[in-house]
C-alpha cells in the first residue's frame, strides 16, 4: 500500500489483494450496519449495546444514561452505514486484476478509523479473539475462520497506522 497525501484528501493506493480485503471489510460492515440489532449475533448485539459503567457497577445505576448511550450507538450504526455505502461506490469500477486507489477526504479520516475499528472489534468479538491470539505468527496459522479474522484485524491495523501517520503530514 502506498499513501498519497493531497491538500484535502488522502489516497490509499492498494495492491489487488489489499483492495479485495478492504472491499470485503466494507461489504461485511455494510451488512452488519444494516442488520437490525435483534438479528445480529449475541456478540455483535453486545458490541452495539455498549456499556456506560464498568462490569462491577450496579446495573440499576444511571439507567437512563445507559439507555441514552445505547440509542446513540445505534445512531452511529446508521450514520456509518451511509458512509460505507458511499465508499463502496468507489469500488464500482474495481478490477481485481489491477491496483486500486481508495480516496477519502481528510475530514472523513476519523470516520475511516472508527469504521475500520468497528470491523476489528466485531471480528474479535465474533471469533473470541483474546490477548494471546494477537501475538500470533501469521505464517504458522492454519486456514480457518479465526486465522482469516486475525489476518483482517492485522491488515486493518496497518491501514489505521498509515492513516494516523499521514494525518501528521501536510503536503507542500
Amino acid at each position: 500500500m502506498k499513501i498519497e497525501i493531497h491538500k484535502e484528501a488522502i489516497s490509499l493506493h492498494l495492491h489487488r489483494s489489499e483492495a479485495i480485503w478492504l472491499l470485503n471489510t466494507f461489504r461485511c460492515l455494510q451488512q452488519s450496519y444494516e442488520t437490525p440489532i435483534e438479528r445480529l449475533t449475541d456478540q455483535e448485539r453486545s458490541y452495539w449495546k455498549g456499556s456506560l459503567l464498568d462490569p462491577h457497577a450496579s446495573s440499576s445505576q444511571l439507567k437512563n444514561e445507559s439507555e441514552a448511550l445505547e440509542l446513540e450507538r445505534l445512531i452511529w450504526k446508521g450514520d456509518r452505514l451511509k458512509i460505507v455505502n458511499r465508499w463502496l461506490d468507489q469500488f464500482n469500477d474495481f478490477n481485481p486484476k489491477q491496483e486500486f486507489e481508495f480516496k477519502f477526504l481528510k475530514e472523513e479520516a476519523d470516520a475511516l478509523l472508527q469504521i475500520t475499528n468497528d470491523r476489528r472489534l466485531l471480528l474479535a468479538a465474533n471469533h473470541q479473539i483474546r490477548e494471546e491470539d494477537m501475538h500470533h505468527d501469521l505464517e504458522k496459522l492454519h486456514q480457518n475462520p479465526k486465522a482469516e479474522a486475525l489476518f483482517e484485524i492485522d491488515f486493518l491495523a496497518f491501514v489505521q497506522s498509515a492513516v494516523i501517520h499521514s494525518l501528521e503530514y501536510e503536503p507542500e
Partner: protein, 118 residues
C-alpha cells in the same frame, strides 16, 4: 457527533487529571462559565476510565486521547501506557454530564471507556 447527551457547547473546558507516583495534580483549561457554575457535589465527582483491551492499537489509542481529550502527545502516550500496563487509566474527572459526553466520544472510537462516580 450526534448525541443524546445534551451537551451543545464546544468542548473546550476539559479538566484532566494527570497522576504521578505520589500526587494528583490538575491541568485545567477553564472557561468563565465553568468557574461560575454552581455545581452540586453529585455533579462534580465523576471519573472517566479507559480499560485495556487486546485489539485497539497503541498508536490509535494515543490518537484518540489527543483528539477527544485534547491531551498533548506526551500526556496521551502516558495514559495509553497506563492502560496497557495497569489495565486502566483515569483520563478525566468532570461533572456527570461532561464525563458522560466524554465516555460517548471515546466509545465512538471503539475504546472501552466507562463512567465512575466518586
Amino acid at each position: 457527533m450526534h448525541g443524546a447527551s445534551g451537551l451543545t457547547q464546544p468542548y473546550h473546558d476539559i479538566k484532566l487529571l494527570f497522576m504521578s507516583e505520589t500526587e494528583i495534580y490538575g491541568a485545567t483549561i477553564t472557561t468563565p462559565d465553568l468557574q461560575t457554575e454552581n455545581l452540586s457535589s453529585f455533579d462534580q465527582g465523576w471519573s472517566v476510565l479507559v480499560w485495556n483491551d487486546p485489539i485497539n492499537l497503541m498508536d490509535y489509542v494515543v490518537y484518540v486521547f489527543q483528539k477527544v481529550l485534547h491531551m498533548n502527545r506526551s500526556q496521551a502516550t502516558k495514559h495509553m501506557m497506563e492502560v496497557h500496563q495497569q489495565g486502566k487509566s483515569l483520563v478525566a474527572h468532570e461533572n456527570r454530564e461532561k464525563a458522560e459526553h466524554l465516555v460517548h466520544q471515546l466509545q465512538s472510537y471503539g475504546l472501552t471507556a466507562t463512567l465512575q462516580g466518586l
